[in-house]
Assembly symmetry: C2
Homo-oligomer: 415 residues x 2
């Protein structure tokens, strides 16, 4: 398996050299051909997916996980459109990030260049396959796609369609390759192919991400785990707070920017707790609360440290009252995964202290945590949301998939 | 030792929270106090260093390595001035990297914020201690400095002086901490303190860097190994080529941006080889050459694959003739460490193909490789030269020592 993964990586490196020199027009043509081909292959993709779904159900996979695996013609059309959207975005390659003429006459430019070969290791959703391949290709990099075993049949067809479409426009098919998922070791070989793979991005649950972080020798961008907090400040507009809490928790529960913990300042607890508990219960949310929350309604279950730590990804919410903004910040610093936090407040000073105090990729002030999303923030495409501090933090678009080179030009300058 | 390193990291995290909120004025005051204190402590520093140097010589350390360890009043004054130079640089923290108001009225800003806790693992040169501490502090991060055992006495005094000076201005002394170097495991514990340390930067030889890359679970920026190439194109100005080759090889041999391999296009070999061999020999350079170079002078020794791979850091130079620019690019892609390459050419097309073809952090066109340097490029301070593609590539200044946060402000916006 190691030989197989390394051979794929070597083919990807060769393809990446061609991609690095390809014009935007050439890359966009390949992406538009790929989008058309995905739509044309809808039936093949859905059929292959049905086998994946059937196998997942036979293994007793929970329905919310099966839902993420499931493809229907609408979802295929959606990710084909996603590929078209990537084609419409500006090309990050060649952008001059900074440039100047130095005192000695040397001209210095820092220029965006492709990363090279990007490995994606991901779970469940087969739509990630088309998304990731398109974003990497537009950014001038070849992709090695290691999806989950559960989506193997869907991914095989999608990648097959993408490769044919890319090749039909004269770019190398090996710019997009599937790494076999039938053997767990293929992921390990991918993340340890240092020198052959330039970057590995894991997308999935906390377990997957931890494994990649611990075992990878290739540089990694951690994504996605979202233990997300909403803090309702003493100065909050409580109607607004109610709207945001409900939206952040219930708009979509299986996503990383959904709220998982609610913190409420003691000064507004008496007013706010009965309202928010009632509204959350009406929305079928199970509240795991501290004593103050449990005093409001017997249906609130007791929260333990596990609740503060958990990313539920379900209609569950941990909830507690805090004595101060500083206590809220301390709670977040202790338990958050550093993805997104929100504060609801009318106070400029409170928003400043919260924003500077928590140490997260995104902070929402009087807005739902669901806005931490490349599409919502206007990036046009997103390959994931980085929760690490290196290279990219928060939603990652095309520029985050590139690196830079310094080009320094002189007339025989020496030191 | 693990407990000791983790305890230091926890103290650093607390100090980093204070630094993150410190104004530029406050940080600059601490740096200026530190610079003054270093100058005032010159005698103490030089005395401690003399013990390190004595011990190194007693162990039979080669003199070129001893030279890197050696401190005298001039060198102390130089790194104290380096600390002042850092104070004079703009504060990267708080810079708005991008910002916009979205169609729905949300205001989005991506803001530079401190990294948090930065671990430095480095060899030899004790001047790195003051440099690294100053750059991290200015960027709002606490530093955990793990120097080499050989410089332990020098580093202990330097850090002691820095901590006292920082504390005297009201910032936490724990913003700068030395990690004991007497036990090899302290470096391992530092690079595996994930969650406590945000970034580890190794500076030193290839062995040190490989160890950190393989063993670290904290994100790493690889620095410094420079197997640097100069390519003399068919269209080169040969006088210029001679100047650049000599400067790149002999200006300073122990640095990462010194040339290690010379590639000469076959079309100019007959003219250029006799001249360059003569000039290099006159400068005491040992040439490890291919058959073409050996044919010029018996003193040229035979090059093996080890010579193409080696970063000599000495008056040695590998040299060969290539049939084409493409062959030069292939040689570089195969053997380079991705630090810096230079091309000497009058041809715009050759410079473009070389620049896009090699895959390195910096490419010099008609200039010495010695210009890959934060000071030379106008960054004012440099913590190292990244040879990886993630986060920072090439010379790293203050902005590269920060991360960013997205702050999104609304009026109760929900999805």
């Amino acid at each position: 398996m190691k030989d197989q993964v390394h051979a794929a990586a070597r083919r990807a490196r060769e393809a990446a050299r061609v991609l690095a020199l390809a014009s935007r027009a050439k890359k966009d043509a390949a992406l538009l051909a790929a989008a058309d081909a995905l739509v044309a292959a809808t039936e093949r993709i859905v059929e292959a997916n049905a086998l994946d779904v059937e196998a997942a159900r036979a293994e007793g996979t929970p329905e919310n996980v099966v839902d993420r695996l499931l493809l229907d013609p609408t979802r295929v059309a959606a990710f084909a459109q996603g590929v078209r959207d990537v084609a419409a975005l500006p090309d990050p390659v060649g952008e001059v990030v900074r440039g100047s003429t130095l005192a000695n006459g040397l001209r210095m430019q820092q220029i965006r260049v492709p990363m090279g070969v990007i490995g994606m290791i991901y779970e469940g959703r087969p739509n990630v396959t088309a998304d990731a391949a398109a974003i990497c290709l537009k950014a001038g990099s070849a992709s090695l796609l290691r999806g989950s075993r559960s989506a193997a049949r869907s991914n095989a067809v999608i990648v097959d369609v993408l490769r044919d479409a890319v090749a039909s426009t004269g770019l190398p098919a090996d710019a997009v390759q599937l790494v076999p998922a039938d053997d767990r070791s293929s992921a390990t070989h991918l993340m340890q192919a240092r020198g052959l793979v330039d970057l590995v991005i894991p997308r999935g649950g906390a377990g997957l991400i931890r494994t990649v972080v611990e075992e990878s020798t290739v540089p990694v961008i951690e994504t996605g785990t979202g233990n997300v907090h909403v803090y309702v400040d003493a100065d909050a507009d409580l109607d607004m707070a109610l709207d945001v809490v409900l939206n952040a928790k219930t708009h979509r529960t299986s996503v990383c920017n959904a709220a998982e913990t609610l913190l409420v300042h003691r000064d507004v607890a008496e007013d706010f707790l009965p309202r928010v508990v009632k509204a959350l219960h009406a929305a079928d949310v199970t509240i795991h609360g501290d004593a103050a929350f449990r005093a409001v309604d017997d249906a609130v279950v007791e929260a333990t440290d596990d609740d503060w730590a958990d990313e539920y990804l379900s209609l569950d919410l941990a909830a507690r009252v805090v004595d101060s903004l500083d206590d809220a910040v301390e709670h977040v610093r202790r338990w958050s995964s550093g993805h997104t936090e929100a504060i609801i407040t009318r106070s400029l000073e409170a928003s400043r202290r919260f924003t500077l105090g928590v140490d997260s990729a995104a902070v929402m002030v009087n807005a739902s945590t669901r806005f931490t999303d490349g599409g919502e923030l206007g990036f046009g495409a997103e390959i994931g949301i980085s929760t690490q501090k290196l290279h990219a933090r928060g939603p990652m678009g095309l520029p985050e998939m590139t690196t830079t080179t310094y080009v320094v030009t002189g007339e025989g300058h020496v030191r």
